[in-house]
Amino acid sequence: MTAVVSHRLKPSGFRISKRVLPYVLSLPALLVCIGILIPFLTSVVYSFQRYRLSQPWARQFNWGDNYISFFTDPKFWNTLKVSLLYAGTTVVLELLLGLAIALLLQKRSTLNNFISIMLLMPLMTAPALAALMWKLMTNPGFGVLSYLASLIGLQDFRWASSPSTALLTVVLVDIWVYTPFIMILLLAGLRSLPTQPFEAAALDGVPRSFVFFRITLPMLTPYILTATLFRLLDSIQQFDIIYAMTQGGPGDTLTVFQVEAYLNFFQSTNVGRSAALMIILWAITYFLSNIFIKNWLRLRERARGQA
């Protein structure tokens, strides 16, 4: 009662009703959202049209033709295959490597903390610039990695410019940039685990492999899931590294979804096909992000609970 009275007695500053206030506060951010939703809906419309920038007069609805043609289009299957292969390889390797490094750095010490901070540097490098760095290092003329490859007997190892090693090269760059992401999340997870189960296990003389598989891994699972899904969502949409490194080449070796959509839009000016590709990619990421958000929320609530 006193609260209400004193509030009425001393009105100060803005007076906005309590019901309207949150809407007023979030409205500007919401408006920016709506501005973005319009192009999204446009993409849906385009994907059901025959629409080429070079032939604007022939623009018309062809309904599902863009999607149906994908079934018999080897280029589409290649896009799907390369995207899944890229996402699968990078995420699995980054998870294994990131977990291993996190375990190596688990103990808090000055050296370990220093190393974990140093390892953040690749992650903070713009992926497009990281690709450029690796491009310089794998240059057949003077690249230091080409030289090192020749030392171990790989004469004329072509890295990203050969169809047989292009995927390997971009995966390597992806690993260089994003392994620290998984490492840092898992390290934070490892260090936040309760100590009692480990002390009890040590007291009972439980073998370390048992501790790892039966205590550490299960307790770390929410962190592993969140980090993995996060990476999977980004990796299936990878554009920067692949475009900066090879522009989807050589040939169509690396035409993952976003690169293929980009090339369709700007090179073959086939807006309809490009939009249909993006809608399919969106469907995949929408499905993945729903699973991700569930895990992410659980982790978030846990973090808030600890605060």
Partner: protein, 285 residues
């Protein structure tokens, strides 16, 4: 854990050394290349010891490259300025829009609040080109193509979800009782927001801003699609180098060093908050 064998300690040491070499080598190597002339860069085997030169940096900073064939203009400083301007302004706009919204989402459960918050979050995970490609056509009609305003608007896709979700977490961490006490003292919600909530969430807001800056700076695809040469940031500008004639590898390296130094420096400065920021507020460091 205390009684680790000597063998295990050696193996751990070797593994950590390999990890550090793999992740640090490219940065160190490009840094070294940026102080070399084309002659030393092209030498085989690659040189570890060389006479360092600042010529690459002077060429980039003065924008003039003297070659045997004549003087070449390099617009790299323009790219660098674009990166600074685009990132700073985008983050400022994002903070202005995102911090009040984050406060609303943290303090008031209102109808549709979670839906809006999740819609904003979903932007973080939607394919960028899904929105960007139709946007190029709209921007041409609206006269926003190749303008800073258009770019800053689109950059909100990167900065806003990040700021909203991190800052929301920091507001939620402030006990509501502190704010109630201040409100009971007869202060308006705005005074409470300004005098209590903002200062308490201050470090978190600053960290979110720094992270948003890093992500805006590192973005590539938005400017690649929506900006021409005079508005392009370093990520797009540096890539154009490799195809432009006359530019030497030392200058490309120097451009990379200048382009990644700001984000690396900021990341080291804000590293305490990186875990929380990278996980969009789900994991605390």
């Amino acid at each position: 854990m205390e009684h680790t064998s000597l063998l295990e300690r050696i193996l751990r040491g070797v593994a950590l050394t390999l990890v550090v070499i793999f992740f640090m080598f490219p940065i160190v190597w490009i840094f070294m290349m940026s102080f070399q002339t084309n002659e030393t860069i092209l030498r085989i085997p690659p040189q570890l010891i060389f006479e360092p030169t600042l010529a690459n940096y002077t060429a980039l900073i003065t924008g003039k490259l003297m070659t045997a064939a004549g003087t070449l203009d390099i617009a790299f400083m323009r790219n660098l300025w674009n990166s600074v301007f685009l990132s700073v302004t985008s983050v400022a706009v994002s903070l202005l829009l995102g911090v009040p919204a984050a406060y609303a989402f943290a303090r008031h459960k209102f109808r549709g609040s979670e839906d809006i918050a999740f819609t904003l979050l979903s932007f973080r995970f939607a394919p960028a080109l899904l929105v960007l490609l139709p946007l190029t056509l709209y921007f041409q009609k609206l006269g926003l193509a190749n303008t800073y305003i258009g770019l800053i608007w689109v950059y909100q896709l990167i900065c806003l979800p990040l700021i909203l979700w991190i800052v929301r977490g920091y507001f939620e961490d402030i006990p509501a009782d502190i704010e109630y006490a201040y409100r009971i003292g007869g202060h308006s919600w705005f005074a409470t927001f300004r005098k209590i909530a903002l200062p308490l969430a201050g470090p978190g807001i600053a960290a979110a801003g720094l992270l948003a800056f890093i992500f805006a700076w590192n973005n590539f695809v938005f400017a690649l699609v929506l900006a021409s040469a005079d508005k392009q940031p370093v990520t797009v500008g540096a890539l154009a180098f490799i195809t432009s004639s006359g530019i030497q590898y030392g200058q490309i390296s120097a451009a990379i060093v200048l382009s990644i130094t700001p984000t690396l420096a900021l990341a080291l400065y804000a590293q305490r908050y990186l875990v929380e920021g990278l996980s969009l507020g789900a994991v605390k460091g």
